[in-house]
Point group: C2
Chain length 309, copies 2
DNA sequence: CAACCGCGATAAGTTCTACTCATGCTTGAC
DNA sequence: GTCAAGCATGAGTAGAACTTATCGCGGTTG
């Protein structure tokens, strides 16, 4: 393989017209240049330079090598520039995944902020629940994920979690439900209700289940859906009641009512997730930082219904 | 500047998925790979590789480097291929110059032969007399020239000449000229004639002049032209007589006659000219060889008028 | 003409780099 | 716990890439 260092020397020789001058601009001695060119000619088995009394001139082969050298050196410079851009958040990409309710609550302001601070980083976001996004993170398909779990102290092998906020769940009832008139309903009041739940693979499922068990009954499941807008719809239609996390209540139908369960409130916990291992790309670090800010702001400006809890 | 050797190692690591495997295919030890990658990371100030228990995965920066590495290595391969092509006459170019009469006599068969043997070499040919073509050769504008001179032993500083053939000059007379009836006219018979000559800068000028001086007179110049077809026209029109070299007589008007001057015949000598200095490109060497063949064939098949000399 | 530049080549010596070898540490599998 | 597979690291070595010093060549200049 041709040696790029040597090609660079040849290019300088071509540019300067003599070994000595090239040595000068390269901060080499003339001897080094002579040896490098000689080595390059030996390796290629070609005469690259015509030595004259007053300096040198390239042969056709030499010119060909210089042409390629120019292209290669340019490409090397590009590579360096790209690395700097990635490190300085003036380039590169950030591939993220979020679960749905954060996708319509926390992520929009976070992405807006990121875009404003680092407009040249290419962002992509997909929707997937933790049971999908964590494997994607581990396999390198994505760089960052928003996840949630039942416990605030979570530990996932190979993944570094950053705690963002607690997301309380609220009871959702049809507007004409008897309990809707009650300020502070209890879970025990709902033993006979039909329930609308998320899919069994979701941690929310466990959370609700555990809450009802704590209240002394095994809830009856009328319907399963992961889409909180749909769940609101089913509740409004009288199919059943449900527990929906605060982040899933960015918009609330007016034919349903939201009630806090007080200290019975099940709480899920939201985390930033990135690959563990000491290294964290600048883009991931920036996004984790921004999401922490957004989460903090979110907690400060919690809607009234949260305060009611 | 990024080190291409190291980039190549990184590329192999990316390809193989582990340092060990990359070392295997590169015939290195695992240690060498580890050190090279570490050095690359140190130089770029970036983490390029995520080390896991089971092998490694590239970071975004690492992938960027590999992308550039691919391009650069491809370009290096191209460069090598081009050098081989030039050396093996499967590419490259040959820029030539010839004086006019050889351009319509020796060069066409030579170029045809070259194109047949080495169709991938790009050929270009310009018309210029030795006083132009030799400087062009020295300055590198052309790689090869056909030249002529008054003496068969010629020496031009910095130029390597290869003798091709002797080009005798013939007396050209109007068909109705009194001397046209004579089988073997003498120069002395032409003392009173008007002459049509090439330009004074041309060696032919000296050649004719010297010949006439040898016959004891200073010839009278009626007209100057370097174009032998034009000269033939002027002779036919009765403007004067001329001496035209054999190579300028590839086509002869039928209203003029050609006569040999026997042992008084002035002779110019034709050479291949290439830059001196030990190195000669494959294309130049091939063309010199071919022109020697063409010249030899030309001498063997000399037209009858030459034999009459 | 002699002396002298300016240029490239070359020999010898030094420094640095890129390897290998040997070994240690971490992690995941059984 | 043990093992295997993987990367890291320290020490040592061979070779590459420089520098220094010197030579030879060709052109220029006093």
């Amino acid at each position: 393989m041709l040696d790029v260092r040597r090609m660079r020397v040849l290019r300088e020789v071509a540019l300067q017209g003599s070994f000595s001058a090239a040595a000068e601009t390269l901060s080499f001695t003339q001897s080094a240049v002579s040896q490098q060119i000689a080595a390059l000619e030996r390796e290629t088995g070609t005469v690259l330079v015509q030595r004259n009394a007053r300096g040198v001139r390239l042969t056709e082969a030499g010119e060909a090598v210089v042409r390629h050298a120019e292209a290669i050196l340019a490409r090397l410079a590009e590579a360096e520039a790209e690395l700097e851009a990635i490190a300085g958040l003036r380039g590169g990409r950030l591939r993220m995944a979020t679960f749905e309710s954060a996708g319509s609550s926390l992520m929009p302001p976070a992405i807006a902020c990121f875009r404003e601070r680092h407009p040249q980083v290419e962002l992509s976001l997909s929707l997937s629940d933790p049971e999908d996004s964590i494997p994607q993170l581990k396999s390198g398909e994505i760089d960052f994920a928003l996840t949630f779990a039942a416990s605030p102290k979570q530990d996932i092998e190979g993944v570094e979690l950053t705690y963002l906020l607690a997301d309380p769940m609220y009871l959702v009832l049809p507007a004409d439900h008897p309990l809707a008139r009650k300020r502070h309903p209890r879970l025990a009041d709902l033993a006979e209700e039909a329930w609308i739940w998320g899919s069994p693979s979701c941690d929310c499922y466990r959370l609700i289940s555990r809450a009802c068990m704590g209240a002394g009954y095994d809830p009856r499941i009328a319907f399963e859906s992961d889409d909180y807008a749909a769940v609101q719809g089913f509740v409004a239609a009288g199919v059943g009641v449900s527990l929906i996390p605060e982040l899933g209540l960015t918009s609330v139908r007016d034919d349903i009512v939201i009630r806090s369960l007080g200290r019975e409130t099940p709480i899920r916990h939201i985390f930033s997730a990135a690959l563990a291992g000491g290294y964290r790309s600048a883009a991931v670090a920036a996004m984790v930082e921004i999401l922490s800010e957004v989460a903090e702001r979110h907690c400060e400006q919690r809607p009234a219904l949260a305060l009611a809890a």
